[in-house]
Symmetry: C2
Subunit: 542 residues, 2 copies
């Protein structure tokens, strides 16, 4: 109980300090200097809205905050001299350095011993299988790549799995993440296969499942030498191609670069709810055809008229080589997304998004026709308490920034209960159109008019010149070997959409008052009494 | 017998006159003037090959012919003053004015009374059906467009069907053809439905039939107000888009503009074996959705996210809206190909092309690996006598010019027996790549080394500046309302490919001598003794 009280005091201190930086001090300076020249949201300049529940003062929406963030930035830059960049400046900013409290066992997804045991069992099963398979293959004169698995207790994917906790998939400064990205980008692939979803379909085209159309079937599960596992989604579309206007979101191509960009965006928003993703130039012959023991997968490979190695969607066999993807002659770009721990040791549940779309040509869901939809949702478990609805807002903002309309379900780890964070899985249908902002994706925010204070503060920061979202995204994506990941129009769209998110919040605040709209994170929940401690102790990490 | 002898004399006179124009006279002038400046085939200039079997003189390959054709052209232009164009000049050329002998009953596909009876029965059946359907529709409150059929004994499609004879689908100057094109382009559509092929599939995806993949299912049979019938193939690809190198010919899109261009090319080559085709801007809502009584067809219509009217391939229902085509918002370009008379009154047979491709990823057909393939074919019925093999050469040249690799079968009218002309059906996979000349399409010609003299003479004419194939095609295609039908690179490719055809013939002549290679048309055939009369009497039409 004493520790709880300490954390509570810490939380409020952090919030007060943030308010002072963003609200009180700017307001005072504003009165002394008049409206700043660098106001980023001129249409709303001078409106009297407060952002901070703790501050009695009113503040112009966003005005002048950049001046004070600049002062903070100087300090941040001094503190982390290695950052000579906007991205470095962003990650050094106090808002990105709020520390989580020390984690109890219940707050970590996995225990080391448990995972190690699981890993050892997997490795020995693999070795047994490979021995049997090699013998069988030798009998029928088929060569199998003799890939050796190395048991490595320091493997990056192990460290990633061990680092997952109730707050996020990884810590901001976890050194395992860059190592994991490096491994997925370059480590030897020892096996390739269809994913479990695919195998469940058994090669049949499940036409009743409109949600899972083409494209789906081209993703593959890849095992790396150190037994790490990644999902490979091949390139199907040039970065310059926009999704045609007539294409429904649910039959749009899956884009490997959208998967990569979504990981970077999620990290920049400080959600850390997307498993690490990196681009890789996969050798289809060596890394897939010669690495798989699945005869079905082998059977969909062919050599194109241009002598390139290609493979096509399984359930569409014979009829549909248009669905094929081809290397040049063997090399094909794709995204590699880190697998989460297996469901047997870290169960997750999949929950329909309350703002799900109809996935039919004509159907409309309730949220599209009922302006009071959110009032109903707010009454219903699990959205009637805790963080769940706020997490949905975060997800809606994330999806809106990408233009992703395909969020039919979300997943959470069962271990963390109802207030656990939402996994932002499967983002390949984002970044389809840069020239269009699909406002309906923001429906949760515009209908419920609530947002986490911490999310809003980061969005405001990313709207400033010094931390501009497009600039930090460009810089972050530049670290990927397949750069450029997004074309300039897509990067510019991010800034435009961010402004639209802020305007939506602004309209809510104007209508309902900031106390109603801007919510302090991690509300004490009846379901999860421990959550009150979260994001407490805003001491900076350095 | 007397008539036969007269025709024989006429034929030889015609051939001698043509030889005089193209060979003897040029040769004499060549000796006087030296090689002409406008020789079109410099690489072969001065080779001593004869084109004409009847002339004892040798002639340089193609050299100087244009000078004499020019002289002929002046006359032709004077004779047909309405032609102020290359296309007019071409069609006024003596080679395009060789008259066929008066037709016996056996040489016409249909008799007028027979066709009129058929037509009357069809119209009354239609009226009966529409009455029943209207009553049924009224009972369930569905509105049906009350399209009235007009019985018109002068209808253009009737005239087209009546004009089909053993030599071609239509006469060069048949006034019914421009009327038919006009009707298909603008007349009211009274019904739309799947084609018979489609209906035979009953909506199932016949995956074993690699030959008939996607695209197939988007074509529709349209009935016009005067009971004419046309096959509609919608636009699926922009004219600027080239078929990707990795796409196999048998899964390539079907192109509406290729269908249109093929009709014009076939007419310019004077084959007249492609049923008339014209471009039309179809109103998907009015001309298809509201005109069909087929519930299956209605069920594949939907409104796209961009509010356009779309429909998609039947057998791929639910899973595959990527296969949809959409209007803007209702209007969609397409090709309208005239139907031939029904199989019940004018039966046809479909015969596999001896140079068929494998339609699998890896298979090779015999002609691809056996350089003596044609020697075998020449021994086999029906290619061992008559015109059949020469007709295959014409088809190969036609397909090579278009880049059409998808000629798996050809059809002939049973009435005209084995020496009947081959129908050049289904040309929608032509004109896919302008930047590539697929030499394997010419395999019949390069392996058999035979060609009809009349075909060769026309190809040589179209290789001249004054009749240049690309120019006459551009002009001819300019008559279509959907112009431009082909992009410039596709038109340029025609000239380049024509030169390759001529070079292939040249190589054959060099190897085997012209007597072996260049064959006088309509050889007396044991199977069809009447054919000896064909293309006799080369008196000009005007």
């Amino acid at each position: 109980m004493r520790r709880d009280r300490l954390l509570l005091v810490g939380t409020f201190t952090a919030i007060f300090l943030a308010d002072f930086y963003f609200v009180l001090f700017p307001k005072l300076l504003h009165r002394v200097q008049g409206p700043g020249e660098d106001c980023l949201c001129p249409s709303s300049r001078g409106t009297n809205l407060t952002l901070a529940g703790n501050s009695a003062l009113v503040t112009p929406w966003l005005s002048n905050t950049s001046i004070y963030l600049e002062a903070m930035e100087v300090r941040a830059t001094n503190e982390s001299a290695e950052w000579g960049s906007k991205l470095g400046r962003l990650f050094a900013h106090p808002l990105y350095n709020i520390q989580i409290p020390e984690l109890g066992l219940k707050e970590q997804l996995l225990q080391s011993e448990e995972l190690m045991g699981y890993y050892r069992r997997k490795v020995s099963r693999w070795e047994r299988h490979m021995k049997l398979y090699s013998e069988a293959a030798a009998a029928v004169n088929v060569t199998v790549l003799g890939n050796q698995v190395t048991f490595d207790p320091e493997a990056s994917w192990l460290k990633f799995h061990l680092g997952i906790n109730r707050y996020a998939l990884y810590a901001r400064d976890d050194p395992a993440i860059p190592r994991l990205l490096q491994d997925m980008q370059a480590a030897t692939v020892i096996s390739a296969d269809y994913t479990q979803d695919e195998k469940a379909l058994k090669g049949a085209c499940d036409c009743s499942q409109v949600v899972k159309p083409s494209g789906h079937h081209l993703k593959l599960a890849m095992k790396l030498q150190n037994f790490g596992k990644a999902m490979f989604k091949p390139m199907r579309q040039l970065r310059e191609q926009e999704t045609p206007d007539d294409v429904f979101y649910f039959v749009d191509f899956q884009r490997h670069n959208a998967e990569i960009a979504a990981f970077h965006l999620d990290r920049i928003l400080d959600f850390r709810r997307v498993p690490p993703v990196v681009g890789r130039l996969v050798n289809l012959t060596r890394d897939v055809l010669q690495s798989t023991v699945n005869e079905d997968l082998r059977s969909v490979f062919f050599t194109s008229p241009a002598n390139n190695t290609c493979f096509f969607a399984k359930c569409l066999y014979v009829c549909k080589t248009e669905y094929a993807v081809c290397g040049r002659p063997d090399l094909l770009e794709g995204s590699m997304s880190a697998y989460l721990p297996g469901l047997s040791i870290a169960p997750r549940i999949s929950i329909p998004n309350p703002w799900i779309r109809s996935y039919t040509f004509t159907g409309k869901e309730e949220w599209e026709v009922n302006p009071f939809f959110c009032d109903n949702i707010k009454q219903i478990y699990p959205y009637n308490s805790g963080n769940r609805l706020l997490n949905i807002m975060d997800m809606a903002i994330f999806d809106f920034l990408m233009g992703n309309m395909d969020r039919h379900h979300y997943e959470i780890f069962t271990k963390f209960g109802d207030d656990g964070f939402l996994l932002h899985f499967d983002n390949a249908r984002g970044f389809g159109k840069h020239s269009h902002d699909e406002m309906s994706i923001l429906a949760p925010l515009s209908q419920c008019c609530i947002i986490k204070r911490s999310t809003l503060l980061r969005l405001q920061l990313l709207h400033q010149d010094h931390y501009r979202l497009s600039d930090v995204m460009r810089e972050s994506l530049g670290q990927d070997t397949l750069e450029p990941i997004l074309t300039e129009p897509h990067l510019q769209a991010l800034d435009r959409r961010l402004q639209r998110v802020l305007k939506t919040v602004q309209r809510c605040v104007r209508r309902l008052g900031q106390a109603q709209v801007i919510t302090t994170d991690f509300i004490d929940s009846a379901v999860m009494p421990d959550t009150v401690h979260a994001v407490a102790a805003s001491n900076k990490e350095r």
